[in-house]
């Protein structure tokens, strides 16, 4: 397969909303993946030899919530976890949640608590705006970098 044909395939993909394309010839195999809004981006690869095992997405551990898809809307930002621990949406079991969908927040607003090693850490939003989505259920374990809230920036 020559460069011209590869370019044609790439153009075809761009015009459509195909995110993945694979073709195999006698001694040539081509697989192209591209970043489509709502999907995790993966690097394009072409393998003239028998295809090497492609890097797989990290195994989604049973105990932890899976990563939320990347936001397509640029006015939506994601608050991610700065630590490893257990997520709580309320200051204590009897109280109402810190935030819910629609809550206005400022950069220093406390949006949740993450308990790590018996210490309750108040997590600040660091984004000003309105909460659009709460991504983690109360009491579940979270890892570093895990998305917690989607916020419409104001």
């Amino acid at each position: 397969m020559d460069l011209i044909k590869i370019k044609q395939v790439v153009d075809l993909m761009k015009k459509s909303d195909l995110s993945e394309f694979e073709i195999q010839d006698q001694d040539f195999k081509l697989r192209i993946k591209r970043d489509v809004p709502g999907r995790a981006p993966v690097a394009a690869q072409a393998a003239p030899l028998a295809a090497a095992p492609a890097p797989v997405a990290p195994a989604a551990p049973a105990a932890l919530a899976p990563a939320a898809p990347a936001a397509a809307d640029p006015s939506i930002k994601v608050v991610t976890s700065p630590m490893v621990g257990t997520y709580y949406c309320t200051p204590s079991p009897e109280n109402p949640p810190f935030v819910t969908v629609g809550s206005p927040i400022k950069a220093d607003s406390v949006v949740c608590i993450i308990e790590a090693m018996k210490v309750m850490n108040e997590i600040q939003s660091e984004i000003s705006g309105t909460v659009v989505e709460c991504l983690v259920a109360n009491g579940t374990s979270v890892e570093f970098g895990q998305p917690l809230f989607r916020v419409k920036v104001s």
Binding site: A52, P58, A63, A116, M117
Partner: protein, 458 residues
């Protein structure tokens, strides 16, 4: 034990996962954002991201690792080597969180981690140490008296030293004054601290270390030695067992001495005592490593004992059923560290994407590696790609087998130390078993660069 968290990455994380699998123990991997595509993350039963790429923000974050251990409900943490494996504070945090730290006690880690205290402890246990002054010496008169007491040649070393700076070798009393002052001046300039101490200079030593296992019921045994004399800038490149230099008598004596020291300090789990051995067979305690080591596989291949498995079982409280007479060393094993470094450019690091990756195989070959075709080696951690171990009935067979295996090993896309190791396997000085810690320096001086910096022909 049901579940273990591995507080490490790369090939050692994989090694621990394998041992856990064989024991039916579930595994939790922790990883930085730079290691998402890492093999240990894929193969563990669970994985927790603990931070961005840099080690100080991830693999060295004691709090996040303990947190990860708590949320995944593990029974123990295996620290591997490097990172937190020799941090007494981390071992203490594990204990406080009711998580078993797979290794010796925090007190032992602390004691043997302090070089001065370790020396004193060894000396108290009647282990020969490199003769030297107890602390710094600042006046010339006292210094030369000490030097004469120790016996020339001596080495004057900066207390705050490192990287070979602030060191002067002195061969006789006539040269002493000049070299002493010179060392102090250099130390002052390089470290802002002119304090120096004096040690006996062991000429062309061999680096020989003894592997130990101690259970939690007071039993300690040794599993023989590894000769790690082939080093570049104090980094080991090639290790082998048994040492081509040790006689059975010396092996028995050094083994006994190692076990005695470990017993004295109440050592538990796996550990290694490192010695310098001079050309006359006089040995000196250098230091103790209170963890599993990179080159542990060499001992596994000649003793047929799974050291990581043993570490886990010891941590479970199991008694070591082996006694010293059960330990037999059979055949010869050699390990070559394959690092992502470019020999032609002074071993500059060579991170990047591995293209085709094909490992050698066949009888007597073991490869411990976390790499695969398409894997991207991050620039943030050490340069180790793989450990290649060859085993043979004799040293010669192991050498030739290693040479054959290195010739088959394909790692495209990055530079590696494969050609250096391959050339060493054919070098007469190495084949004769004469390597001391000066060996590699000499090898580079006398061997044409083309023989050790070109890609191997396959």
């Amino acid at each position: 034990m049901n579940k273990i968290l591995i507080a490490n990455r790369g090939e050692i994380a994989l090694r621990v996962i394998r041992a856990c699998r064989e024991l039916g123990i579930k595994t939790v991997a922790v990883y930085s954002q730079a290691d998402e595509q890492s093999l240990h993350v894929q193969l563990a039963d669970e994985a927790v991201c603990i931070g961005p790429g840099p080690s100080k923000d991830s693999y060295l974050r004691e709090d996040r690792i303990i947190s990860a251990a708590e949320i995944t409900n593990v029974d123990a943490i295996h620290p591997g080597y490097g990172f937190l494996s020799e941090r007494a504070g981390f071992a203490e945090k594990c204990a406080a969180a009711n998580i078993k730290f797979i290794g010796p006690s925090p007190e032992v880690i602390r004691k043997m981690g302090d070089k001065a205290v370790a020396r004193q402890t060894a000396a108290a246990a009647k282990v020969p140490c490199v003769p030297g002054t107890d602390g710094p010496v600042d006046n010339q008169r006292e210094a030369i008296k000490e030097a004469q007491r120790i016996g020339f040649p001596v080495i004057v070393k900066a207390v705050a030293g490192g990287g070979g700076k602030g060191m002067r070798i002195v061969h006789n009393a006539a040269a002493f004054a000049k070299e002493f002052e010179s060392a102090r001046a250099e130390a002052d300039k390089a470290f802002g601290d002119a304090r120096v101490y004096i040690e006996k200079y062991i000429e062309q030593p061999r680096h020989i270390e003894f592997q130990l296992l101690g259970d939690e019921h007071g039993k300690v045994i040794h599993l023989g030695e590894r000769d790690c004399s082939v080093q570049r800038r104090h980094q080991k490149l090639i290790e082998e067992s048994p040492s081509p230099f040790l006689t059975p008598k010396l092996r028995e004596e050094m083994g006994k001495v190692s076990v005695k020291l470990a017993e004295t300090i109440g050592y538990q789990n796996a550990g290694t005592i490192e010695f310098l051995v001079d050309k006359n067979g006089k040995y000196y305690f250098m230091e103790m490593n209170t963890r599993i080591q990179v080159e542990h596989g060499v001992t596994e291949e000649v003793t047929d004992i799974d050291l990581v498995r043993r570490q886990i079982l010891i941590a479970c409280g199991e008694k070591l059923e082996l006694s010293q007479k059960d330990i037999k060393m059979t055949g010869h094993a050699i390990e070559c560290r394959i690092n992502a470094e470019d020999p032609a450019r002074n071993f500059a690091p060579s991170p990047g994407t591995i293209g085709l990756y094909y490992t050698p195989g066949g009888h007597g070959i073991r490869v411990d590696s976390h790499c695969y075709s398409g894997y991207v080696i991050p620039p943030l951690y050490d340069s180790m790609v793989a450990k290649l171990i060859s085993v043979g009935a004799t040293r010669q067979k192991a050498l030739d087998r290693m040479h054959r295996a290195l010739g088959e090993y394909i790692i495209r896309g990055i530079h590696t130390t494969i050609p250096v190791c391959r050339a060493i396997m054919k070098d007469p000085a190495f084949r004769q078993g004469g390597a001391t810690t000066k060996y590699l320096e000499d090898f580079f001086e006398r061997t044409p660069k083309e023989l050790w910096s070109a890609a191997p022909l396959t």
